[in-house]
């Protein structure tokens, strides 16, 4: 009977109408979150690089005192070893201009000298 099918199809159609704004909201919110993350940290592969590099540098500074964090200090706002200024990867050519605050001794060190400083600041490499 066409009456029953119409009834059925209208019900299903209304169900989809109800679901649509819920779905839209989730997609929109996820899209916004991704845009924000990209503005701050770049796209997904970039974020994984940052995550991996920060994890290893955090471990090495804890264990041997070698400063790996400085290579990443320019790409992420808030690396494990110091608080950098603007997190702009284009500034790697201006190493002498950006200053970083060493969290160990609270001194301000120029970017290009940061690795050497951290090396000494955290006790240097093991002497044998």
């Amino acid at each position: 009977m066409s009456g029953v099918t119409t009834y059925q199809s209208i019900s299903v159609s209304l169900l989809e109408d109800l679901l649509e704004p819920i779905i839209n909201e989730i997609v929109l919110e996820s899209l916004n979150n991704e845009q924000i993350l990209r503005i701050k940290y770049g796209n997904l592969s970039n974020r994984w690089d940052i995550y991996n590099n920060n994890t290893t540098s955090f471990n090495t500074t804890e264990n041997n005192g070698t400063g790996n964090g400085s290579t990443n200090g320019n790409t992420l706002a808030g690396s494990a070893n110091g608080t950098p200024g603007p997190s702009n990867s284009n500034s790697s050519s201006n190493n002498n201009i950006e200053y970083f605050q060493c969290l160990n001794c609270d001194r301000r060190i120029a970017g290009s000298r940061f690795a050497a400083h951290i090396d000494k600041c955290l006790g240097g490499r093991t002497r044998k």
Binding site: G3, S11, L15, V27, L31, N33
Partner: protein, 97 residues
Amino acid sequence: MTNQSDINTLKLKIQNELIQSGQYDEISKFLKFKLIENGWFDNFKNLASNTISEKENPNFSSLIRDLEPKALEMVPDNVKEETLVKIRQFLDSVIDK
């Protein structure tokens, strides 16, 4: 025999009645609650986030085009049924007029 334009007019009237009576809001809240309770909300949210983060230039309309059918598919049958029951209850109440 009911043709498509008759059905569309009918549906429009039903939609108006649904909104005016406040039933749209009520059934909508019920549906959303069920979806959260069932885990669909989190599942779809994860799917959306993962899909979006892997795209070079994510675009809302193309995302919706790809994700909406999956979202509908992911809705558990019991949630669909329970919501359809409510919709049918509403339809029964208006159609008798």
